[in-house]
């Protein structure tokens, strides 16, 4: 099981760093919002994998909170972009 842990958490770490790279480099505001949404999914995956391998149910509450708050953040950024578009035009 340890090799599975290393492999899958390694993939997720790589995916997370790619997401952060997308936020930092040459991106429009919408791109950054999409990358942020993706980061919350990757974090949820990471929490599920690590708590599944350690068989420790303590981190699952964190994953529920991440899902809820990440969704609220996505919708808030989307409405902000919309209101900014309306204010410009």
């Amino acid at each position: 099981m340890t090799i599975v842990a290393y492999l899958s958490l390694g993939f997720l770490a790589l995916a997370g760093s790619l997401g952060v790279l997308r936020i930092v480099r040459h991106a429009t505001l919408g791109d950054r919002a999409v990358a942020f949404d993706m980061l919350t999914s990757i974090l949820t995956c990471g929490l599920l994998v690590s708590s599944g391998i350690a068989i420790d149910g303590l981190n699952l509450d964190l994953a529920v909170l991440l899902g809820l708050l990440g969704f609220v953040a996505s919708v808030t950024i989307a409405r902000f972009i919309e209101s900014r578009n309306e204010a410009e035009s």
């Binding site: 995916a15 790619l18 429009t28 791109d31 599920l48 994998v49 969704f71 996505s74 972009i81």
Partner: protein, 97 residues
């Protein structure tokens, strides 16, 4: 007999978790490969949601008690419902192709 069952259970949940994390990796590669923001949203919602679903099923096979499996079901339902709605609102706000 229960040893082989445990082995099968471990192998299946390991495969599921590996596949889930590979899908998450592919979806973040897709953030770079696609050329427009709305196309990148395709890459964000679909493989990532399936990845969370597979990781959750893999983790649920390892847990024995009902409360953790119930929390995992809540996580999956939340992800399945919230990801398309978030993508829809972002797709409306962001213009372009």
């Amino acid at each position: 007999m229960s040893d082989t069952l445990q082995l099968i259970r471990d192998v299946v949940s390991a495969v599921l978790m590996l596949t889930g994390s590979l899908l998450a990796l592919v979806s973040s590669i897709g953030l770079f490969r696609f050329s427009s923001t709305r196309a990148r949203m395709h890459a964000t919602t679909k493989p990532a949601t399936l990845g969370v679903l597979l990781c959750a099923i893999g983790a649920a096979m390892q847990f024995g008690d009902v409360s953790s499996v119930a929390k995992l079901a809540v996580i999956v339902v939340l992800q399945l419902v919230a990801a398309p709605i978030g993508a829809h609102m972002l797709g409306r706000a962001v213009g372009g192709k």
